[in-house]
Each structure stands twice: as C-alpha cells, then as structure tokens.
C-alpha cells in the first residue's frame, strides 16, 4: 500500500521532504500525475506528498506591487479572480483555456509550470508579466525570475527538497498593452500548437519602452524572445521592419516537429503572432 501524507502547513511539508527527498512524489491537483500514474502503473510512486492541503500555497493576495498567487491555487480560482481579470487579463485568459472546466477546477498554476511541458498554457502570460517564483526549502526560501525556471526539456530549477510555494506578479506598466493567443485545434482541451503572450509598453510618442514575450510549444521549454525584445526597444511602430522581426523570431525559438505540427508551420505561426502582437492597434503598419 502506498503512503500518502497530506500536511496542513508548509514547514511540515518541507520537513518531510528534507528528511526523505528521494522517494516522495509531490501531488497538487493531480491532473497531470493521475494520467501519468494510470498510464504507466509500473512507475507509480510509493510515497506521495499531497500539497493540496497546505494553506500557505492557497489563494490570491493583492499587494502594493502586484499579486501573490499560491502555487496550489486552482486555475478556476485564478480565471475568476476580479483583480486578475482587471490587471492581468492574459493570465485570466490562459487559465480559462487550460483544458475544460473539470480540469480547471482541479489543475493548479504551480502544477502547470512544475510539470514543465513545453506546451504549458499559463507559461507565456507568466513570462510576459515578468513573474517571480518563491521556492521554499526547509532551510529557507529563495526567489527566482520565472524566466530562469525552465532549464531544458522537462527540466526545472527545482532542487531536491524544494517546493514551488508562490508566484509574485508585478502590476504591468501603466501604458502597456497585452496580447494573448492560443492556437490549437479546438478551443478547450486541446494542447496548444503555439501560444503567445506579449506585453508592450509605449511612451506618449509611440516609442516602445519595453516589450516582453512569452511563448509555448515553440521550443523544448516555454521561452521568451530576447532578440525580438531587443530589436523593438526604443523603436517606433512605424520603424519596425517585419522581415527583421521574423528573422529574430527564428533566432529565439526552436520549434519541433511532432504529431501536432511541423517545424515550418510553427515558425510561420509564431512569426505572424509576434507581428500581430506588435502591430495590433497601430495604423501605420510597414510592409516589407
């Protein structure tokens, strides 16, 4: 019989992990793990650490700088939260397209990023908003920009004995606009072929002050677009050459070919989405 531990408080959970880091499997909403353990029963772990009862990992709190979202908060709670809808609409939107309602009722934001699928639907919004992670260990917590979390295919920065405890997301800059889109075969429940979130800040003269992109399903991990962001910085929309953007998208992403799409399709869609994110709401689109 497998062992199941469901502590109420974070220190207790961290203590358990520190005492026996190896054999424990962390389970939150279980929407990824239950599929995995059912499909591969021989890999069913013996000892489970159930973090769904940890109070410190639950809920959303508004602070002066932004919002704290506990790692075990459900996607349903996130998509419904009035402040998230008002200030971080791309996250509300991504939570709302992560599977269907019965999935969102169970799936957690922490589980979505820790599962580390290259197609994780909430990753782009978290990257574009510049989220930071609070990572807990029984010796103390550390902070990590979410952009540094994914280190390779299904490999994260989490070390033995650590739990992702919360997300901190700053308010977007005042004059910024967001763009989110998931391209899949069907609205709900489909794994994304490509998804994107962009947060673009312009000054009163229309110069781009900052541009942050997050994309999923275009590389081995969810990723940002550093050279596109670099190119846009300080430029006015009318001075942006689409061909230059396309070339930089090609540098920043490394799309794979799989059962859902070809490499060429993903590169083309990614480029078009980036261009749409940049030019939306601008009349003076420059053609190359």
């Amino acid at each position: 019989m497998s062992e199941w531990t469901r502590p109420r408080h974070l220190p207790e959970a961290l203590e358990i992990l520190a005492a026996a880091p190896g054999p424990y499997r962390v389970i939150s909403g279980g929407t990824d793990l239950m599929v995995e353990s059912h499909l591969a029963p021989e890999r069913r772990p013996e000892s489970w650490l159930d973090i769904s009862g940890l109070q410190e990992l639950q809920g959303l709190q508004i602070t002066e700088e932004g919002i704290r979202i506990g790692a075990a908060t459900s996607l349903e709670a996130i998509r419904r939260h009035a402040e998230v809808v008002a200030h971080w609409p791309m996250l509300a939107a991504s939570a709302a397209v992560t599977g269907a309602p019965p999935i969102q009722n169970r799936a957690t934001l922490g589980g979505n990023v820790c599962n580390a699928s290259p197609a994780a639907d909430n990753a782009p919004a978290l990257l574009a908003y510049g989220a930071r992670l609070e990572i807990a260990h029984h010796r103390g917590s550390r902070w990590l920009p979410y952009g540094d979390f994914h280190q390779g295919y299904r490999k994260t920065a989490l070390q033995a004995g650590e739990l992702l405890s919360a997300f901190w997301i700053p308010y977007p800059p005042k004059h910024s606009r967001g763009y989110f889109r998931k391209v899949g075969t069907r609205a709900a429940q489909a794994i994304a072929k490509v998804s994107i979130a962009a947060l673009i800040e312009e000054d009163s003269d229309g110069m781009i002050q900052s541009a942050r992109f997050g994309m999923a399903s275009v590389a081995a991990t969810p990723c940002t677009l550093p050279s596109v962001s670099q190119y846009l910085l300080g430029r006015a929309l009318r001075d942006i050459a689409d061909a230059q953007v396309r070339q930089r998208v090609g540098q920043d992403i490394a799309p794979i070919q799989d059962i859902r799409s070809t490499t060429e399709y993903r590169l083309e869609i990614a480029s078009r989405l980036v261009l749409e994110a940049i030019h939306r709401r601008s009349e003076s689109k420059k053609e190359d």
């Binding site: 279980g30 599929v35 059912h38 159930d50 599977g99």
Partner: protein
C-alpha cells in the same frame, strides 16, 4: 488509514489505497456504476462527478484528497427533475454512456447560471464528449430545463 467522505448524502468509508482513483472507489466499492470510464485520462467527462459542488473528472481524483469531501454522482441527482425530463423530451441521450457526466456538467452549470446562454452551455459542457447526439439536443435539453427555449 481509511478515507471518510459523504457520497450522495451518506457517510462512506473507503479502505482503498490513497492513490486509488475516485472513479474506481465509486464503481467498485460503492457499486455506483452510473459513473462511467471512457478515456481514463480526463478528456471525455464520462466519469464526471461533483466534489464539494464542483465538476471534476473522477478518473483524475486520488482518494487521498477526498477526506471529508461531499461527492455527488448521477445516482445522487433527483430521479425526476426538469433536467431529467428535458433530456428525455429532447432526445438528448442515445447510447447513454456520456449521459451521467452530461447531467452532472449540466447540474454544475445550472447552479452557476440559472439561465445560461448557448455560449455558457457550450463552455459548461466543453469537457464532456458525446459520440452519438451531435450535442445540439443536449444543449437544447439544458436550455429547456433552465426554462428557456429549446430552440438551440
């Protein structure tokens, strides 16, 4: 450690392993066979039940998380209800495999939106697959149960 929960209003204690699927506990231990297994991967909603009033796929729920939970299966829904009558009248069921899950998804939807729009009905049922009806009749049944027109 046994897990104690309430299923359709009655206290129940399960001695299955904590990583057992709620689906198997319901079907095999409680003999509640109305909850179906379609895909076993969260995709089809045939196994849908309400846990503390929320729609979930019981094939993805480990028993270990069900301590003190309030669970409603199709057997716990009233036998005669506007929803049940509407399903019959609209021909919203054919082979019937999806019907329990559809009824629970509809129940969850109607708890939230007493008068759902077609868009809300589609969204509320988007995790439930039906191979037979083509969905139109199911949407119509829910609209009718809500007191709206069946003309979807």
């Amino acid at each position: 450690m046994p897990t104690t929960m309430r299923i359709n209003g009655k206290a129940f204690q399960s001695s299955s392993a904590p990583n057992a699927r709620l689906l198997d506990v319901l079907r095999n231990e409680c003999d509640l066979k109305g909850t179906k297994e379609g895909c076993g991967e969260g995709e089809c909603g045939a196994c849908a039940v309400l846990v503390n009033g929320k729609l979930v796929n019981s094939c993805l729920v480990p028993l270990g998380q069900m301590e003190q939970a309030e669970i409603t299966t199709v057997e716990g829904l009233p036998e005669d209800s506007a929803l049940a009558r509407a399903f019959v009248q609209c021909g919203a069921t054919q082979c019937g495999i999806c019907t329990p899950g559809m009824m629970l998804a509809a129940t969850a939807l109607l708890m939230e939106h007493a008068n759902p729009t077609l868009e809300e009905i589609r969204w509320g049922l988007s995790g439930n697959l039906c191979r037979c009806t083509g969905y139109g009749r199911i949407y119509a049944a829910i609209a009718q149960a809500a007191g709206g027109s069946a003309d979807v």
